[in-house]
Amino acid sequence: MIDVFERRIILVSILVMGLFILAIFYAMGARKADVTECLPYDKTYETARVEQLDKTTYQIFYVARMWNFEPSVAYIPVGSEVDLFVTSNDVVHGFNVYNKNVNLMAVPGGVTKTTVRFDQPGVYKVVCHEYCGTGHQNMQAEIIVNYPKKQ
């Protein structure tokens, strides 16, 4: 027979864990929090570029190498939804967009993808957050989000 206090503690723990799981489903479902994907590798991902799919949808194909990201600067209008594809040419790098929910690994021979929406204008720094050698601390890029008329 379980002690009454023990039973209450187990019940509270189950309720709290249930709350966490519901919160995760809420973020994924109602708020459409994107989950990072690993895509099948293709040589075309080694060409760094920015592509516009329609007025507010962009794709940026990043190539990380010691010690920079290409493209180093990308211009995006406010309110755009951007698919980020990241791969590496040499070693494992990190890919973190400041103030955004983006935290990817750039892996040689692999492609990681996520989608992010830029509703606020500004300069969003991209930094490498996986130690990759002596120039690691200088490895960064910028996503410049400005008003469409100023682009």
Binding site: F5, I9, V16, F20, A23, A27, R31, A33, N101, R117
Partner: protein
């Protein structure tokens, strides 16, 4: 003189309060980060 045996009526108030504190702290930290990340989507 022997102490009266109160073990039958013992309630672990300290442990309950500490457990409740840990649960509340865990919720605050977890949901603090959770809503911060939701803002950044």
């Amino acid at each position: 003189m022997t102490q009266p045996d109160n073990s039958e009526n013992f309630v672990p108030r300290g442990a309950i309060a500490f457990f409740a504190f840990l649960i509340a702290l865990g919720l605050i930290i977890w949901f603090g980060i959770y809503f911060l990340m939701l803002e950044r989507i």
